[in-house]
């Protein structure tokens, strides 16, 4: 099981270590540092690194490497999942997960890690239970604690851990009872030069924010549940009911949680929200290149495309770019060769475009690789897959809750090859 955990920042310093069994010397991280040095980007450090006596399994998030040390045959996914859970918990507790935040809350961090893992076995990883055991630091509480000498550690028993619904704490009370659901879809796509789709898929999630008194039992049904053939559920969802009736039936955890995530794969027809017209050319022997892109909405069911951001990693030979855009603002970083164009909202009547010239290194040969264009955008009130919630009902409690459903589509890894 998980032996130790080291937190390493991008400059290669260990700023926190925690051991659940015997102490493993810091020197074990030298193997990790070696790998870190070899990798061109921090993202490229291999997640599993063998050393003579241990294995190092790491994840890289928020510019911090979380390096777990294991000694025996342990499922690596188990370790990686757990590490991500640690990061999520820190973020949940401290608002951000950064080196400073961890250092600011070092005692809470220690208490959390101690509660999350016992002898390398996961103990309490549900945020609901952790928050019962260790109260998250708030400014008010810190002040109160200093004055009264009370503590962050809850005096309660983690009763939820013993019940059949370990994810929900007991005795929840709200004056306003509300349940909100967000259907968020991200589209990942690769579009080739000619504008046809190489691959496109939708990663969808239904995130919930449920603040309901007592032990409510909810059912959520969809207009078109057949879309969901590849789903992962929060443990609270009754799988049998879903299999039989295609209805989500569950006792929700208290607070924010991810109810389900789903995947609409390339086999089904995935609508492409935007298109890009591009013409990027380098001429052999010339020190000037031509650059022009236009972006427009494609299949958006009439909804507006907002928050459009176009980025592109230009070839090394490009020294500078001299462009004009009809809308928004662009920047080009001559050091990293990153072109970034903040477009904003697309007006279908007047499509935004960016064009101009590129100056190339004199004498350098024509670049081998063509830049890939990366697009980020948002469409409110639309789930691109067409998923729609039919109704939400509550049983088991007498009050009438406020209910709300929101839809949103975002571009995930949306790439256009040129």
């Amino acid at each position: 099981m998980i032996h130790s955990l080291f937190l390493v920042n991008s400059s290669g310093d260990i700023f926190l270590e925690k051991h659940w069994k015997s102490v493993v010397s810091r020197s074990v991280c030298d193997y990790f540092f070696e790998a870190q040095e070899r990798a061109s980007e921090p993202e490229n450090v291999a997640p599993v690194i063998p050393t003579p006596h241990h294995y190092l399994i790491s994840v890289y998030r928020h510019k911090i490497f979380f390096v777990a040390v294991i000694q025996s045959e342990v499922p690596p996914l188990f370790v990686i999942e757990f590490l991500h859970r640690v990061v999520d918990t820190f973020q949940d507790y401290f608002g951000v997960c950064s080196e400073a935040a961890v250092k600011d809350n070092v005692v809470v961090v220690y208490e959390l890690l101690e509660e999350m893992l016992d002898n390398g076995f996961p103990l309490a990883t549900e945020s609901n239970i952790l928050k019962e055991l260790i109260k998250p630091p708030t400014i008010l509480r810190t002040v109160v604690n200093t004055i009264t000498g009370s503590t962050n550690v809850g005096e309660q028993l983690p009763t939820g851990q013993l019940s059949v619904v370990p994810w929900r704490r007991t005795g929840v009370k709200y004056t306003n009872n509300e349940a909100y659901f967000d259907v968020v879809e991200e589209i990942d796509a690769i579009i080739d030069k000619s504008g046809s789709t190489v691959t496109a898929e939708i990663q969808g999630v239904v995130d919930a924010s449920v603040k309901l008194t007592g032990m409510p039992d909810l059912t959520l049904s969809f207009m078109n549940p057949r879309l969901l053939d590849d789903v992962s559920f929060h443990p609270c969802v009754r799988f049998k009911r879903w299999e039989a009736e295609r209805i989500l039936s569950f006792i929700p955890p208290d607070g924010n949680f991810r109810l389900l995530s789903y995947h609409v794969s390339s086999q089904n027809l995935v609508a492409i929200p935007v298109y890009v017209k591009h013409s990027i050319s380098f001429r052999e022997g010339s020190s000037l290149g031509h650059f022009e892109i236009t972006i427009g909405p494609k299949q958006t069911m009439g909804k507006a495309v907002e928050g459009v951001l176009v980025t592109s990693q230009m070839p090394k030979a490009v020294l500078n770019m001299n462009l004009t855009c009809t809308q928004g603002a662009y920047t080009f970083d001559p050091v990293t060769k990153m072109l970034s164009w903040d477009v904003g909202k697309i007006n279908p009547q007047k499509l935004p475009s960016l064009k101009g010239s590129m100056s190339l290194q004199t004498g350098a040969s024509k670049p081998d690789e063509n830049p890939t264009i990366n697009i980020q955008c948002k469409i409110q009130q639309l789930a691109l897959s067409g998923l729609k919630v039919n109704r939400l009902d509550m049983y088991g409690e007498k009050y009438k809750p406020f209910k709300g459903i929101k839809y949103m589509t975002k571009a995930g890894k949306f790439q256009v090859r040129t």
């Binding site: 070092v106 789903v231 690789e369």
Partner: protein, 948 residues
Amino acid sequence: MTDSKYFTTTKKGEIFELKAELNSDKKEKKKEAVKKVIASMTVGKDVSALFPDVVNCMQTDNLELKKLVYLYLMNYAKSQPDMAIMAVNTFVKDCEDPNPLIRALAVRTMGCIRVDKITEYLCEPLRKCLKDEDPYVRKTAAVCVAKLHDINAQLVEDQGFLDTLKDLISDSNPMVVANAVAALSEIAESHPNSNLLDLNPQSINKLLTALNECTEWGQIFILDCLANYTPRDDRESQSICERVTPRLSHANSAVVLSAVKVLMKFMEMLPKDLDYYGTLLKKLAPPLVTLLSAEPELQYVALRNINLIVQKRPEILKHEMKVFFVKYNDPIYVKLEKLDIMIRLASQANIAQVLAELKEYATEVDVDFVRKAVRAIGRCAIKVEQSAERCVSTLLDLIQTKVNYVVQEAIVVIKDIFRKYPNKYESVIATLCENLDSLDEPEARAAMIWIVGEYAERIDNADELLESFLEGFHDESTQVQLQLLTAIVKLFLKKPTETQELVQQVLSLATQDSDNPDLRDRGYIYWRLLSTDPVAAKEVVLAEKPLISEETDLIEPTLLDELICHIGTLASVYHKPPNAFVEGSRGVQHKRLPPRTGSNESPESPELAQPAAAQPADQPPAVIPSQGDLLGDLLNLDLGPPTSGGTPAITSAMQMGAMDLLGGGLDSLLGGDLGGSPAIGAGSRSCSYAVLPQCPSRGWSRDLFDLGSGVGMPAGSYVVPKTVWLPAMKAKGLEISGTFARRMGTIQMDVTFTNKAMQIMTDFAIQFNRNSFGLSPAAPLQLATPLSPNQTIEVSLPLSTVGPVMKMDPLNNLQVAVKNNIDVFYFSSLYPINILFVEDGKMERQVFLATWKDIPSDNEAQFQIKDCHLNSDAVSNKLQSNNIFTIAKRNVEGQDMLYQSMKLTNGIWILAELRIQPGSPNFTLSLKCRAPEISQFVLQSYEAMLKN
């Protein structure tokens, strides 16, 4: 105000200040001080000097303070064992606390204090906690057993905690069950042979029930545990699969992958024509695809596992090619894995798409990735014949880009394409030659030189090209030098008139000016060949080359099956069996896929039906470890087997050349030291169990034995079941199993050859080392057809006893060398002595009596044969059919005495007296022989015959 202030106190006298604060009367000040101590500890400062002061703070009602002190204790108790004792009382008291949270916390912390003295005090509280009324305490205590076992395994066993832990598997609370399973699994890892997790249908049922209700982590432990179970039949297998499939929709990817492992393993048992089998295949694809939309680290592990799954069951993901397309901002480790899987999934149906993608990748920025993409194009060409032409033209396009490393990779793969499709794409050679100057990597240079040599007759200026390489001969890497040598020799054989000077130059460079033994020896061999017999040289050097296999980097089927059982573990990430890298390799059990039951179709993986599966993994069949000792035999091995195909002439020519070159010298050099070295002895001893009858408890595997050995054998004469002599892992995919039999007066070796490699095996030959009874093949090994992949051929090889004799240890040890087109393999086997009993072994009564008296009583050996339920007549008949002849039978004091004789092929007589007490299963056997060392082998034969 935040905790970061604790990091700043580095001034002198800090410890002193803290000490004062810890002893303060004010609660708040105390707590602040402990927090400071913990913070210092976190960043690696040594605050162990404060131990007594911190421990003093332990007796408090404040839960947070208690927890902080516990944290400190866990860190420093080891360095201050004597002081740690001070804390014991508080722990014991806390274990009795009315609050279950405190009880659990105390038992949890106590387990983390790795001090021997403390563990003694831990036992009683732990025992109570394991039976606590509160499940939260029980589940914490279960993990505590694993902790304690880590510190003091003996103590845990003595105190009977393991049994209590086993009982917890039937606990009513699923969380307790999951933790008990986790603890047992961890303990079992250090006791690979113990039966800690004894799984039976009842306990499986309990686990499956707990699976639905426990936490995600508990589900992982339970699923991993389930994967070790072997269901009794396909129905049980299906019902487990049905209950596991809902886990595929879990949000935790580790749960999903563990469920995939269970399904992949148990699926093996389902008949393929079952509807459910198809349903299951369909259900497996979506969760695997979903794993690929997770964080990159998860993707990486998932991809490594998918790589295995795709090799085992390509049908699952064959329509999902697109999800493996690379995004330009994927981390490099994800890109490379995706590429690998893309090639595995490439087929005629999707090749156009794949090629378009690969071409796109070849223009990316990352050099490693581009190289691999180019190589992938070549692999596609070799794999999908219809696409070869398209691939070649894509490669040519890439060569036109003149990007140095792209060109080099392209040339390396084009060489392989030429190998696969000879005389088809030679038109591109001209383009390749244009890029000769830009090649600076050895592999690319060697590939180019190979192409020039191979097609020398079509390249007008081949001699000039090769000559240009020759100028810097000594600066080249060995790979290039060897290739250059061969290429020039080829050129010479094709255009002898113009290139004589060149070949002499290269031969002298290789033989006289080089320090590299490989190069020098190859140079000498060519030189001799060319000077002795140019015609033979031509046949050797320009021989037709065997086809290269379609798929590269395929994992060997046996290993693949083992890895499938390890899906989701480190083994699956490294694609190596756990014993190859797990620390200390504490005899990790080899896992095997269960055999398919129900239908009679031959299993997909042929080894499943082989007895090998039943053998204990820690006793692999002996393979002679050191090949050096048998080098003499290798040289004597008849390398011209009577097989079909056009190669024998060439091989014998090769042999001629080699012999000529070696002169007689080498033979005499090696002649004196053949076999019998300690290494061989040790190797063969460990295999001695192989001839003993298998114990009957082995259930299904025994049935398989009987099936295998019952075919075509005359009734009566006892034949030992076939055992694996040479496992496929040690012989590049060739598995040999066999046994010995005596039929109609001749000794026969029944051998089963199984090809588990990916290529065809031909040219089999066999040779024995000298042995105790002069056994040698009486006829050459005749395999009717080449052995294609996954094919099994059974052969009976008649043996004679006129071969060279050398005493072996043990006496019945036979060392065998088998050669095929791939390599020569060595193994040793033990033959039962009864195959040497001749048909005229019946002695006259008088002679028997005289001989019995004549042999000194020192030579008499007496043995007990236990558990034999035959009467004396049945015994007599049974032995008679094995050439053990009963000469007389007497009844003395209610006991049957059988007097028997037998004769070995080398004329040695063995006399026996078998005493049988009617009603008692125990016989007494007395043996007399002039060569008493034989007795124990005769006993083995007796036992084997009587009990079968």
